[in-house]
Symmetry: C2
Subunit: 185 residues, 2 copies
């Protein structure tokens, strides 16, 4: 039981890398088989639903990670809002920099995969935006808009960083976003 879970969990991590590299459509089962080190038989044993189930498992894993490492820390009190946001920006910069500058939810949102995984994509972004919104002072009127703009900046910076093939674009954009936040708070 534990081995099975571990085996599947390992496969999900490898699958995330394949989807980031090739996209959902471009991730062929032979590429997946190579990168995970599992034969097709094993893959269909872990994921009877095939490629779609592999992708939902990946999205759920990434979504849970963001829930634990990004959304929850934003809500945890004890630090002023700008410090929590600074920590979040550091976390996500490190996360995406070590993952080919690809946000799977963002990439799926831009393609045909959007419909298939609509609920998960929506939950990822609304979760992020509302965690940020609650980070801001409760009386703040434009908290929702500011949160939306912040998430949009991050996603747009990822696109630009990949388009210009320069991770510094992500870094610089996030630093300036933090500056804007500090000025407002």
């Amino acid at each position: 039981m534990a081995r099975l879970m571990t085996g599947r969990a390992d496969a999900v991590l490898a699958l995330a890398g394949v989807f980031r590299t090739y996209g959902y459509e471009g991730a062929s089962l032979s590429a997946i088989s190579e990168q995970t080190g599992l034969g097709k038989g094993s893959l269909y044993n872990f994921f009877p639903g095939g490629k779609e189930e592999m992708a939902t498992a990946v999205l759920d894993q990434v979504g849970a990670w963001f829930q634990d490492e990004v959304y929850e820390p934003l809500r945890s009190p004890g630090q002023p809002a700008e410090v929590r946001i600074a920590a979040m920006l550091t976390t996500v910069e490190k996360y995406f920099t070590s993952r080919q500058l690809v946000c799977l939810f963002g990439a799926f949102a831009l393609g045909r995969e959007r419909e298939r995984f609509a609920e998960r994509i929506r939950a990822y972004f609304t979760g992020w935006i509302s965690a940020l919104q609650e980070t801001f002072p409760s009386g703040m009127v434009d908290a929702g808009e500011l949160a939306t703009d912040l998430v949009a900046s991050i996603q747009g910076a990822l696109i630009l960083a990949r388009a210009l093939d320069d991770p510094e674009v992500l870094r610089g954009t996030l630093i300036r976003a933090q500056t804007r936040v500090n000025r407002i708070l």
Copy 2:
């Protein structure tokens, strides 16, 4: 001669729609054939290089459109910077709203297509950023950074608008971007 050019130009417009809907990998030749109303023979007559040449033709068409309708107007004097930027934001909002909220260059940048069309993708974004940069007063120190942030906001807003399936997200983000620009200028 004129007919041939027209036929190809019409095909390029239809192709853009197919790539926006299905992505590069997902756009099968049979879907392309359906949507353009051309048989495969005709398609390969217009685009001997196959799907890759179809995509480059689309990117060149869109790139030229942005050059004429977005970058050049930004540079044209006679209006203050904030007015030119407001016009740009209106233009791009209308453009993307009527095109499924998909920026082909942004979508390609996030996928495996990035390498294949790297120069065109880079030229699109650097062209946009530098046109914006030159729009700002010549003495402005952070013009390049502000321009980068603005383009990132637009691209991120497109992702969010698709993820949340709400074109108003694009509209709201652009309005607030304009407000920030006005405050700085």
